[in-house]
């Protein structure tokens, strides 16, 4: 038996963990919380919530404060003051153990693939169960592992495992602790189904289920109070709704694309769909349209323009969720989707389909980077940076001859972006829930592990030479240049190159504003209490949080080296070597120079502070630009207007039509009937025979009238 044969166990492990938490540890956790007076009893039914429980002292003392039963004080530091019960912790440990097992198995499968070129070429399919078949149309639940899936398995299980571990510290004391781990496990199962699906049906199931988990986890603090007016802090309830519905718009288009492929080919299976021979008798235009529609699903899920609006709001979820779902894995599902269909995009569909991918990706990359420049919320900056980096991945898919370029950036990005988010969570935790970077600064001295690991990730995302982001991003920029040479379209190159500059700038702006500042050691890189602008008492986080940071720092720095000699590309494409090694390409120096320029400028402005930040906004043009940027180009306002006036307007119209037109006619004609009815009505006496007679008599008379009118008697 080889490891790959056990692949269904990978999603099964978190599924079992989820069920154990749901059925065993969570009920026990809730019972323990009730005994400790942390949560109202619920069954007492009185106004005095929790008051019925004997032996709880502190909950009563702060009156309505006892209502903070799902989380304590969202705005002011998650978890502080609460207690994690034994059973809560037990559930979390079950989940972590399950994830360690899943990651171990994913590694074993990965190394099995690495060692077997034959397996890389053939992949491995496992049939689970049938839904149904109609003649040759099969709806089946199958898993398939190939090189792409093997890599995604590593990313998903690895990051998920570390996020699980991290969350034990981060979510400690939250009354929804057990629920959090349950939903995290649900997400992991869903994401694994997504990457393991052997056909679009299974992929789509996973695709929608990650949407559900994303919804649940964004809305994890579902009872949070709205943030004060004027603050741009995200608010969980509307953010969850927005995330689900916005991605559903993309899913709708994707569904139509799937239907187009299905009715033309009669199959959902990827291996058949990705074989160009399947399309011998099919119009290329149909395939092109279908692939563009399927890409719309990716636009929604990966938060690309114009469906990007949900991701910044999704930061309302707990930060580990932002790291796992909204940075490393789920939002990359769109990239995975395009890569999954790459043979179709590149060989069967017309060139327009990948051009659309490239344009959306490159525009989104620069669009989000520009918005990120003006954000002060640490998580918002990272959210826009995720949107921007996902744009890079799409450009990578659009311009390169294989999917390896885009997927390699997905691979490296998963690590450094997860690290950035977890690091920001560590920071937020340290400064009592504050997310505004204007109230941070100089934190490096307080939390050295977080600061060092964060710096590694920042260097990586900025494309600093030899960090993993350098290898993956500069490869995309290089491929975009090659693409330009071949097609005369240098836009993708120009946009991605300029975005690289912006990325380096806003990421180091973030780093200096958070950890450094003027007067810190190493020219402002390593700040101390003199640069700290907040009021909380920062501290380094507990080991369950710092260990994942350290473990993520290694791949964030090092996995890039896998691309040397096309190692990664060779693996992913099973031997079709693709992109050149950026280390020896002169173009690389352009990318490096641009990145260093961005880092340098950020250093001057925010590290050394020799150039004051207000130079950007002290002139009318800068101010106007800043206003547009801080308002995110007014896209949200535009959508709000469309929903308010067009969607709801039409809905009101439909209802008014029902009330006044249809019912007007009905009531008008019914009034006369009802008058007759009134005369004989015996509602409260309930004499059934009368009704029976009336109903049958009436029906018969009308029936005969219709019958004779249509002349049906005349044969």
């Amino acid at each position: 038996m080889s490891p790959v044969e056990f692949v269904p166990v990978i999603p099964l492990l978190p599924l079992v963990a989820m069920v154990i938490i749901f059925l065993v540890t969570r009920p026990l956790d809730i019972a323990a919380q009730r005994r400790a007076g942390l949560r109202p009893t619920g069954v007492s039914g009185g106004h005095n919530v929790g008051g019925a429980t004997a032996g709880h002292e502190q909950a009563e003392t702060h009156g309505s404060g006892a209502d903070h039963d799902e989380h304590d004080d969202h705005g002011g530091g998650h978890g502080h003051g609460g207690v994690t019960t034994f059973w809560g912790l037990a559930g979390a440990v079950v989940a972590v153990v399950a994830m360690v097992g899943a990651f171990g198995l994913a590694l074993a499968i990965f190394f099995q693939f690495l060692g077997s070129p034959a397996l890389q070429k053939s992949g491995y399919t496992v049939h689970l169960w049938n839904w149904f078949s109609f003649g040759p149309l099969h709806y089946v639940i199958d898993f398939r592992v190939d090189t792409l899936t093997a890599i995604m398995l590593i990313v998903v299980t690895g990051v998920s495992m570390l996020v699980h571990l991290y969350s034990i510290g981060y979510m400690a004391g939250d009354l929804g602790f057990s629920r959090f781990f349950m939903e995290l496990a649900l997400f992991t199962v869903s994401m694994l189904i997504l990457v393991l699906g052997a056909n679009i049906l299974v992929l789509f199931i996973g695709w929608e289920l990650v949407g559900l988990s994303s919804y649940l986890l964004i809305g994890f603090w579902f009872d949070a109070a709205p943030p004060p007016a004027g603050s741009d802090l995200p608010y969980p309830p509307p953010a969850a709704l927005k995330a689900f519905v916005t991605t559903r718009v993309g899913d709708f288009a994707m569904l139509i694309g799937i239907l187009m492929l299905f009715v033309t080919t009669g199959t959902f299976t990827f291996t058949t769909l990705n074989t160009p021979a399947t399309y011998q008798h099919i119009d290329q235009f149909t395939v092109t349209v279908a692939m563009i529609l399927i890409f719309c699903g990716a636009v929604g899920k990966s938060a690309q323009f114009p469906l990007h609006v949900w991701l910044p709001d999704a930061m309302a979820g707990p930060t580990p969720v932002s790291a796992l779902i909204h940075a490393a894995t789920m939002v990359a599902a769109g990239v995975y989707l395009v890569a999954r269909f790459f043979p179709l995009y590149s060989q069967v569909a017309g060139p327009q389909s990948l051009e659309v991918v490239g344009w959306i990706g490159s525009f989104t990359a620069i669009f989000a980077a520009v918005i990120a420049l003006a954000q002060n919320d640490i998580k918002k900056v990272l959210a826009y940076s995720t949107i921007s980096q996902l744009g890079y991945m799409f450009v990578g898919l659009a311009v390169a001859p294989t999917d390896a370029t885009g997927i390699f950036h997905l691979f490296t990005h998963a690590f450094f972006k997860a690290l950035l988010f977890l690091g920001s969570g560590s920071v937020i935790h340290a400064v009592a829930g504050n997310q505004d970077m204007r109230k941070m600064g100089g934190l490096a001295k307080y939390m050295p592990i977080t600061a060092v690991t964060f710096l590694v990730a920042t260097l990586s995302i900025s494309g600093f030479p030899l960090f993993s982001g350098f290898f993956s991003k500069d490869a995309i920029i290089g491929e975009a240049f090659t693409y330009g040479q071949a097609n005369g379209n240098f836009w993708f190159y120009g946009l991605t190159l300029f975005t690289a500059f912006l990325t380096a700038f806003y990421m180091f702006r973030l780093f200096f504003m958070t950890f450094g500042g003027r007067g810190g050691a190493f020219g402002g890189f390593w700040g101390n209490e003199r640069q700290y602008r907040g009021e909380a008492h920062p501290h380094e986080s507990t080991w369950t949080m710092t260990v994942p940071l350290i473990l993520l720092a290694f791949p964030s720095a090092l996995v890039g080296f896998w691309s040397i000699n096309s190692g990664f590309a060779n693996f992913l494409t099973a031997g079709i070597q693709t992109y050149d090694n950026p280390l020896f390409d002169p173009l690389t120096y352009v990318g490096v120079a641009v990145a260093l320029l961005g880092i340098g400028l950020a250093w001057l402005v925010y590290g050394l502070e020799v150039v004051p930040a207000r130079v950007f906004t002290s002139n009318p043009v800068g101010r106007a630009a800043y206003t547009v940027m801080i308002n995110k180009f007014y896209v949200d306002e535009f959508y709000g207007w469309v929903i308010q006036y067009i969607a709801l307007g039409l809905s009101h119209g439909a209802e008014l039509f029902d009330t006044y037109i249809i019912d007007g006619i009905v009531n008008g004609s019914a009034t006369s009937v009802q008058r007759i009815g009134d005369a004989t009505r015996r509602t409260e006496t309930g004499v059934l025979q009368n009704y029976g007679a009336a109903i049958f008599g009436g029906a018969l008379i009308i029936a005969l009238a219709v019958f004779i009118a249509t002349g049906a008697f005349v044969h």
Binding site: L137, P226, P237, I256, L259, S651, Q674, I695, V706, T710
Partner: protein, 519 residues
């Protein structure tokens, strides 16, 4: 015998209820509906137990019984009605659904205070009527049961309803009555056109599709098949309900007590869909083929219109009522796609029709779960206004979970049964009616919008202290919700058994239609 027991046991129980003391009525109703539900399950498992089950089709039904009943000859006029009951996959799923929902409706009505004997007796008579509709294998018997069902429903809304109950009850009655008058006319038409000697389903299946010719119609003429189809369809269209004949539904639902809403949406609407598939499609396939493009357009309108109207409702029940309009649109779409003339492969038609039929079953369970959830809330809070709540998820976490499961099932989340049915309908119908399918598929966005927006306004956010005293579901209240949730989950993960059950009868239907298309 089994079907006779399933049909008439509730009626007997209803009589016993009327004679029993008030306190015993609910127990009698619970026991009898429970027994009937188990018997309805035996329809399925009794065949599965044979090892190689054949679930029957319209020409070879299972559990078949045929006894001559009425035989009147007046000159050329010959009226022959048989007491013919039978079950195939199509009716078996509906019988089981009705058995389940009737039982859960009794459990859900446990606290009914006003005239409980009459209430439970009427619920039981209603069950008899609906069972009869699904089990009848004679067209006159069918319409007999169809009309029987009206009386208890009318009284249940009219007596136990809300403030505007009389208006709602009359509206329901008149709408349905006018609609079924057309259906009755259609039945006479098809009966006399096919010889006027036999009203059995098998007879119509064999003879009716070959009907040709046309009828005079206001100076012009209309093909006989289309005339039969349309006359039969009017009554079913009211019941389904199809736009623009749907406006009785929101009123009836808003006024009806919880359990009655459950039955109304869960099984009564399915009577319309059942009639459409069994009778319109089965006996007037030519007419269905002619009408299919229009039906496809109407289906898309149903989906979008219902979803749009749901979006702006303030009352939870009214919102769910409109969502039923929207979801029944998928049934119409599946049927239209199965009948539409086109070059598409027969398998796509079968997928569409199977999806439509599965949607009947899943919508029955999902919408019942939604109505039960609202019922739990209404019983405590005495209001269903979405906006007066706020953050009540904090006080009712269990209800929030179960209500959310129902909402996600309704919006077609994979893993829950709604997805299977919708996906099946779409994959089938896109082959013959692509444009209608695209419009209808946009319903999935709107459905997510209004359901999650409702949850967000009522359950999410800080607790409105006005509702601080609300308590979570009791075991009795949670029972129907959990039971339905498990059915929804099972069908969502492993739909093969129910599809296998449906396949023989639908295959027969699709094959006979495609044989016609070739001519």
């Amino acid at each position: 015998m089994l079907l006779t027991a399933i049909v008439f046991l509730p009626l007997i129980a209803g009589v016993i209820c009327m004679l029993a003391p008030d306190r015993a009525a609910r127990w009698i109703a619970a026991v009898f509906t429970g027994v009937v539900f188990l018997l309805s399950l035996w329809l399925y498992f009794g065949l599965v137990a044979t090892g190689s089950p054949n679930f029957g089709s319209v020409i070879a039904p299972q559990w078949y019984i045929d006894v001559p009943w009425i035989n009147v000859v007046l000159g050329a006029f010959h009226l022959k009605v048989d007491y013919a009951l039978g079950a195939d996959g199509l009716s078996m799923t509906m019988l089981i659904l009705n058995g389940l929902l009737s039982f859960l409706a009794v459990i859900g009505s446990w606290k009914i205070g006003k005239r409980p004997r009459l209430y439970f007796a009427l619920l039981l008579i209603l069950e008899t009527g609906v069972m009869g509709v699904f089990a009848a294998f004679d067209l006159f018997l069918f319409i007999f049961f169809w009309e029987i069902e009206l009386i208890p429903m009318f009284l249940l809304i009219g007596i136990w309803g809300g403030a505007r109950r009389e208006y709602a009850a009359w509206k329901f009655l008149i709408y349905t009555l006018v609609g079924s008058a057309f259906t009755l006319a259609g039945i006479f038409l098809i009966y006399f056109q096919t010889g006027g000697r036999d009203a059995s389903y098998q007879h119509f299946t064999q003879t009716a599709p070959s009907l040709t010719g046309s009828l005079p119609f206001f100076g012009g003429s209309v093909s006989l098949a289309l005339a039969i189809f349309l006359l039969l369809f009017v009554g079913f269209a009211v019941k389904i309900p199809m736009w623009p004949l749907h406006t009785w539904l929101p009123d009836a639902h808003t006024e009806a007590p919880t359990a009655v809403s459950v039955l109304l949406a869960g099984v009564l609407l399915k009577m319309g869909a059942y009639g459409l598939i069994r009778i319109c499609l089965g006996f007037a396939p030519h007419g269905a083929m002619e009408f299919a493009p229009v039906l496809g357009v109407l289906a898309a309108i149903n989906v979008l219109w219902g979803a749009g109207a749901s979006m702006v409702q303030k009352d939870m029940k009214r919102m769910i009522a409109y969502s039923s309009v929207s979801h029944m649109g998928y049934v119409l779409l599946g049927v239209a796609a199965a009948a539409a003339i086109g070059t598409a492969n027969i398998n796509f038609r079968q997928a569409a029709l199977t999806g439509a039929t599965l949607q009947m079953f899943t919508h029955g369970t999902i919408t019942a779960m939604l109505f039960f959830s609202v019922g739990v809330l209404y019983e405590k809070a005495h209001t269903r206004d979405i906006d007066v709540f706020g953050g009540i998820g904090k006080r009712m976490p269990m209800l929030m979970l179960l209500y959310s499961v129902a909402c996600f099932a309704a919006l077609g989340l994979p893993g829950l049964s709604g997805f299977v049915a919708e996906y099946l309908v779409f994959t089938g119908s896109f082959a013959t009616l692509p444009v209608a399918t695209i419009f209808a598929a946009f319903g999935v966005v709107l459905t997510a919008g209004y359901l999650l927006w409702m949850l967000r306004r009522s359950f999410y956010g800080p607790l409105n202290m006005k509702w601080d005293w609300l308590t979570d579901t009791t075991v009795r209240e949670a029972f129907p919700l959990v039971a339905l949730g498990l059915v929804i989950l099972f069908v969502g993960i492993y739909p093969q058994p129910i599809i296998d059950l449906l396949t023989p009868s639908l295959q027969q239907m699709v094959h006979s239609m495609s044989a016609l298309a070739i001519h």
